[in-house]
């Protein structure tokens, strides 16, 4: 029985309508024109079944998901009008729109969603993102043509978030799937604002306006057909080339220019810069708590207090990021504001923490010792040695730690070695970047279940189960409870308690929070963004067209 209503979602939908009405009054959209949009990496495919990283970047133009979240993580309906769960969050009842037509002319209905979820869990399409995120999925019941019940084997509070992820709930045409099969990955048929036109591998994708579109999410200013005639997404891996494309007039909007160009373009009146704060766990390190000297709480605390994050931001990122003093980025829904009471910059306090723990420099070499063992740490960063901001970050940390008597060895490895380094437990500090839009990222990074093992990719690099079994057990319980919580408030409470435990035990070193950055010509108006930092062109138009 459904007992919990989705008043929040319904209110958001209404607010979204008011928001769009307000925008409609102030803007005068001009129909026509094609926007040329340059991004770095080509999508691996356009069907949710092959969704991995970078999928949503381009697929979002051709597919609509069940829901859409704005940059503040507020939910809005999309293909779903509303949704609610039972108190245990093991069943979600979703009411669907009845006015949606796929690009092939077939109707969207409950069967479309059920068939999509069945494909997601079909072994032959393993292992797409939907499969990962909905791993407790049991099945979908069709209540009527436009109502479904999605069932899980255990509480799945996080589905309230995943429902807004296109790689989970982007629904393609079931009829097209029947005739095209996996070709849908290259020639998708969705229900999005733009229809797929062509894909020139390694070069571009072209999309044309869907004139029948009238079911846009109320999150967007324009819920009808897009104003633009078309959209061309160009794949330009090199940052300098992307910027050249914008400045030469061959692109209208680009994503993620380099830091130097970003500053220059910001001061150019011909362009507009939009920065969307990252969520989850942006640029950070975690400690190996099972290895000396980072098995010592005092050392972990001292390292956190000794690092000048402002300096790192200026030196490595040209001031284009924001110093981070919490495990989760402030824009994450489950962010715990008190985290900043534990992490700040104070070298005197860092020295005191070490002195209180009995650290002293007995041989006068400038490096402190605990129990006659020098405090030396192995810090691992990943990527190239050249033009890699992580190298500057590591050198800055090295110099800050030297000032409090800690020696740092910097190790640079390819990204693919990250798991292997962690598995060999060679690290004291290891770098990662995981900007997911939900606090569930804590489970990935701190749950002992996620510790990497041979043949098993995992990102829990803290080995807290070795460093402090009691803390590890408590943390695992909180994190599992957070992931399985039925309500957002409950999940937030559990994840905030987990952040408190992580902060008290100084398990990580947050460094800086990044932004998803777009630079566009001044004449491009009305671009919207979702919580994944993806650009939406439903309401976009080119002035002067």
């Amino acid at each position: 029985m459904i007992t919990r209503s989705t008043t929040v979602a319904a209110c958001m939908i209404q607010l979204g309508i008011l928001h769009s009405a307000a925008l409609a009054q102030t803007a005068q959209p001009k129909p026509g024109g094609t926007v040329r949009f340059a991004i770095a990496e080509e999508s691996r495919g356009l069907d949710p079944l092959t969704a991995h990283r970078r999928f949503s970047e381009t697929a979002i133009h051709v597919h609509d998901g069940l829901a859409l979240f704005d940059t503040a993580n507020k939910p809005f309906g999309s293909l779903a009008k509303e949704w609610s769960s039972n108190p245990e969050a093991t069943e979600y009842t979703i009411k669907l729109r009845d006015d949606v037509t796929f690009h092939d002319g077939t109707k969207f209905n409950a069967e479309s969603v059920k068939a999509h979820f069945s494909r997601v869990f079909d072994k032959q399409y393993c292992c797409n993102n939907g499969h990962q995120y909905m791993n407790a999925y049991v099945g979908t019941d069709i209540i009527d043509d436009y109502t479904i019940k999605v069932k899980f084997s255990k509480p799945a509070g996080t589905f309230a978030f995943y429902i807004g992820m296109l790689d989970v709930t982007g629904i393609p045409s079931n009829a097209a799937w029947g005739s095209k099969g996996m070709t849908m990955n290259r020639e998708p048929v969705g229900a999005g604002p733009f229809k797929f036109v062509s894909w020139a591998p390694q070069s571009n994708m072209k999309f044309a306006r869907n004139p029948d579109y009238k079911w846009g999410s109320p999150m967007l200013a324009n819920t009808g057909a897009p104003y633009l005639d078309g959209l061309e997404v160009k794949f330009i891996a090199n940052q300098a080339t992307r910027v050249a494309c914008l400045e030469s007039g061959d692109c209208d909007i680009i994503k993620d220019p380099n830091f130097a160009d970003m500053r220059r373009l910001s001061s150019n009146p011909a362009f507009e810069v939009v920065k969307i704060p990252q969520t989850g766990m942006p640029y950070s390190f975690v400690f190996n708590t099972g290895r000396f000297p980072t098995d010592q709480l005092a050392v972990r605390k001292a390292i956190n207090l000794a690092i000048d994050r402002e300096k790192i931001n200026m030196a490595a990122f040209r001031g284009e990021r924001r110093p981070l003093y919490s495990t989760l980025a402030p824009a994450t829904p489950e962010f715990w504001p008190d985290a900043t009471k534990f992490i700040y910059y104070n070298q005197a306090e860092a020295k005191k923490a070490l002195a209180d723990a009995g650290a002293k420099d007995s041989n006068g070499d400038g490096i402190l010792e605990i129990d006659n063992k020098p405090i030396e740490i192995d810090l691992y960063i990943f990527g190239n040695r050249d033009n890699n901001p992580s190298v500057i970050v590591a050198e800055s940390i090295q110099s800050d730690l030297k000032a409090i008597g800690i020696s740092t060895r910097i190790n640079v490895r390819p990204w693919d070695d990250q798991s292997a380094v962690a598995m060999r437990e060679e690290h004291n500090l290891i770098n990662f970047d995981m900007p997911l839009p939900t606090g569930s990222v804590l489970n990935v990074m701190f749950n002992s279940r996620e510790t990497p093992k041979p043949g098993r990719y995992g990102m829990s690099f803290t080995y807290v189960q070795k460093g402090n079994a009691a803390v590890s057990a408590e943390l695992d319980t909180l994190l599992d409870a957070g992931d399985n919580a039925a309500t957002f408030d409950d999940r937030k409470a559990k994840f905030q308690a987990a952040q408190k435990l992580i902060s008290e035990n100084y398990l990580g070193v947050p460094v800086v929070q990044g932004f998803t950055t777009y630079v566009m010509i001044k004449g491009l108006k009305g671009v919207a963004y979702n919580n994944g930092g993806h650009a939406l062109f439903n309401s976009a138009y080119l002035e002067g067209k």
Binding site: Q132, A200, T241, D416
Partner: protein
């Protein structure tokens, strides 16, 4: 051998269960021993089947065919730039030996050879596309999208050819048969082209063959800077994404191209210079 586990790479940064990792490995056939996978690949190659990309799930042959014309187009245009600029510059420097023309050409050539291709490409892009707006950035088709990449890729190769042409010509122009040709009253043009260049051409042609493989390597950089699709970009992406089937196919094609080009060059050498005779059973007889 490319180190690493493609399945681990595939899920890097994502939440994934152990069961799903095992399932993905089984689905991709990566659970079999490496020698079995290798022989299966050989067998498929002999049937013209390059397999399916781990990443895009597309047939590798389709992927290669979709970009091969773009790489060939670039390689041919760059070779044209190499020949058109490199050989005349080398000849000019040789016949104007120890004059300011020779010195100026050799300074330019030395600078050009020393210039990193990536840097040169970006400078050309900023000047010709952003400042002058003569050529488009990241355009997908048409001759205008080819000019700048071909010029950048071909020019460095042209500079190497110019240096070799100069030294080769200087050697030939000092030979007695050239002096004889001059004393017979032949025009300087005929002396240089027919008696000089033709005899100096053997090492130039050999270097052009070697440059063909260099062009493939250079194409990786040029394609990246100019955002052009091609085999070079495909190879880099395949390495980055650990897409074994794609990388195997690209390496195979590169090796075949290199071998074929060098075979053609060897045959052309023999055709140009009657003194070159390949040691076959027929020639022994």
């Amino acid at each position: 051998m490319l180190p690493g586990d493609p399945v681990m790479h595939m899920f890097a940064g994502q939440y994934v269960t152990a069961e799903n990792m095992a399932l993905a490995r089984e689905t991709l056939g990566l659970d079999k021993p490496i020698y079995i996978r290798y022989f299966e690949w050989l067998l498929r190659i002999m049937q013209g089947d390059f397999g399916t990309s781990i990443v895009s799930k597309r047939p590798v042959a389709d992927m290669i065919l979709s970009v091969l014309p773009r790489t060939l187009e670039l390689a041919v245009a760059a070779t044209l730039v190499t020949v058109v600029f490199g050989i005349p510059a080398g000849v000019l420097a040789a016949i104007k030996k120890n004059t300011w023309v020779d010195s100026a050409l050799m300074v330019v050539v030395s600078l050009c050879v020393a210039m990193p291709l990536f840097w040169f490409g970006l400078i050309a892009l900023l000047f010709f596309s952003v400042e002058l707006r003569w050529f488009p950035v990241a355009a997908n088709a048409g001759w205008s999208s080819l000019v700048l990449p071909a010029f950048v890729l071909g020019l460095q190769s042209a500079c190497m050819i110019a240096r070799l042409t100069r030294s080769s010509m200087l050697q030939v122009l000092g030979d007695e048969y050239v002096t004889t040709a001059r004393s017979k009253g032949l025009s300087p043009w005929r002396v240089v082209t027919v008696h000089g260049l033709r005899n100096a051409f053997i090492p130039i042609l050999t270097l052009l063959g070697v440059q063909a493989s260099w062009l493939l390597g250079g194409a990786v950089i040029t394609e990246t800077v100019f955002a052009r699709p091609g085999l070079g970009t495909m190879a880099v992406d395949a390495i980055r994404q650990m897409d074994f089937p794609v990388l195997q196919a690209v390496v195979l094609i590169a090796a075949l191209t290199y071998t074929t080009v060098n075979l053609v060059i060897d045959l052309m050498n023999a055709a140009l210079d009657p003194r070159i005779v390949y040691d076959t059973e027929a020639s022994k007889a």
